[in-house]
């Protein structure tokens, strides 16, 4: 296991994600496109946050920033106490693998691998042992209710089941945050409700969840809703009835 997992886990209420005046600009020819303008966000451990906003508001860019897939043009970003805004590519890969669990809109499972092998991918890159990773993958598959589908390929599963595999995969390395991008966007309402149920359960277990969506229904599940508009935070509200 990598060294960052040896750090003590932040207890409930510690700030695990701190963005300070985070900017992201893209150069389009001669025009500089300012996609994110001085974003300040602090997310505490155990929070369930929905990030919302219309298309073009900078949601996806913010998601890439949070997910350490991209480096900011300005400002700082601390994840679990470590400044990750200026890391090298390999270091970012390590951070992604150890601290972030991704759940994508289109599930993004690897077609030639079965359920267990898909769940094992993040553990593989974190150098788990063979038996250890197989055991944990089976545990996670059981947890998301796929105990009887472990040897199935993604093509043999329904959308809801695929997304459950993706959630299990996101949990594999016990990340600091689970980052979901429109997790119910490709699902019918029934399966979508299933997935939201699982996310709720994870929240109850104390996981930190960040969901990027424009589905107001998800927002009602979240504790806190951050609304983006034109690259700025337009609104940051707490649903006090939740948590």
């Amino acid at each position: 296991m990598s060294d960052m997992n040896d750090n003590p886990k932040p207890s409930n209420g510690d700030a695990i994600l701190v963005m300070d005046k985070l900017c992201k600009n893209y150069q389009l020819g001669t025009v500089e496109l300012r996609v994110l303008r001085e974003i300040d966000i602090t997310i505490n451990s155990g929070e369930y946050v929905a990030i919302m906003g219309p298309s073009g508001s900078g949601k996806s860019t913010l998601l890439n920033m949070i997910g350490c897939l991209d480096r900011p043009s300005g400002g700082s970003y601390h994840l679990g106490g470590q400044d990750v805004s200026q890391l090298e590519d390999d270091e970012l890969s390590a951070i992604r693998g150890a601290r972030i669990g991704f759940v994508f809109q289109s599930f993004n499972l690897i077609a030639q691998l079965n359920v267990i092998e898909n769940i094992e991918i993040p553990m593989f890159y974190q150098s788990y042992g063979e038996a250890e990773s197989a055991e944990r993958a089976m545990e996670l598959a059981t947890m998301v209710g796929l105990a009887d589908r472990m040897k199935h390929r993604p093509a043999e599963l329904s959308g809801g089941q695929q997304q459950r595999v993706a959630i299990a995969r996101a949990l594999a390395n016990d990340p600091l945050i689970i980052l979901a991008d429109e997790p119910t966007g490709n699902l019918d309402s029934g399966s979508g409700a299933d997935i939201l149920g699982i996310l709720d359960r994870l929240h109850e277990e104390g996981k930190t969840l960040i969901v990027v969506t424009h589905d107001e229904n998800i927002a009602t599940h979240a504790q806190r809703v951050i609304r983006l508009f034109d690259g700025c935070i337009a609104e940051d509200t707490y649903n006090y009835h939740k948590g």
Partner: protein, 433 residues
Amino acid sequence: MFLFRFKRTLKLGVKSLWMHRLRSTLTMLGIIFGVSSVVAMLAIGEGASRDAQEKISQLGSRNIIIKTVPPPEDKSSVGQQQTLKEYGLTYADAERFRGAIPNVRVLVPNRLISEQALYRNNRVSIEVVGTVPWYTEISSLRTTYGRFITSIDTHYKQAVCVIDELVRKDLFSFDDPLGQMVKIGGDYYRVIGIVTAKKATTSASQVQGQQNSSKGGSGANTGKIYIPLTTARTRFGEMSVQIGTSGATLERVELQEIIVQSQTIDQVLSTRRSVMTILSRFHKKNDYEIVVPLELMQRAKDVQRIFTIVLGSIAAISLLVGGIGIMNIMMATVSERTREIGIRRALGARKRDIVMQFLSETLILTLCGGILGMAVGSLVPALVTYFGQMRTVITPGSLIMAFGISAAVGIAFGIYPAYRAANMDPIESLRHE
């Protein structure tokens, strides 16, 4: 842990290749043909060179063979009817060599006469070799039955003869030849022994083509009968009638060949120089030629080297084509799996993990292709030997080389697609459809 990682990478590679079986097989074909052509061509080249070297070593690597050849026709004497032509090596030459060249270990003067041999009703064309008792020392002949000519036979000009396997087979199918009288020319000779050619020292009898090649390797298909040189001189004389286009001419030749063996291999070339010096002084006409098996061997090696280079380049080109095929397919695979690369990068794969993944796929392809290519490449020489009656030798070195080459091709042509895969932007690849 490392082993697990390796195993997992390998398993993943096999799985991805298995998903596109036909494509993988077709890609592998390029390498299979490349490697098999390397193995096959080296085997054919090696077989040919060993064949040549065996033939030459039968002549004796320390020997210098001086042969009588008819001198080129004198331009000035065209029109004149020459009735007697006198040329070639003489007994005096042999004496000069013996006396003047210090490195000579053995010297054998030979008289060669084409004749017919008769035993009962069997008549065969043979070559009579008038020779000396120590002839066996410089040739690859071995007395297998009876005895060879002795100095007593030579001294008393005995009418005895030693026959070789071929003559024995033709003349005495089932009879014991020893003590029988054979009529050669006008006289009868008593058979005192049988000689056979020694098996070549570098015998590789496991190779099928051996039998065929050594049969052809013994050169002349006419049998030989050895008689004492003195006997040959008195019975056959030195005159012979040659019937040419300009009518019959009488020729006088004392010796057809003189074989000189130097003491060590290093002295062969200096001995040859001495021989040439002596001959050039006494033979104004160009009526001799010098054959040095050692030189032939070296020339054969040079030819072999060129042969190997030519065959090797052909094989290398086919491997190159195979490698380019692999690279092409890997590029297609990489762009087809852009999304997978994005997913893996998001889930914590470093660039080098991606490189390893695609490189291992290429390596699996080329190494499997290499192994199959070695199998096919070992089969082809066997077929060539069987159908083409050519000797082939597969050396372990050529197999190791072929395998090494296929691995090198895998790395050389796999590294760029893998590098491309690793350097894709994770965000872009995740968005890729």
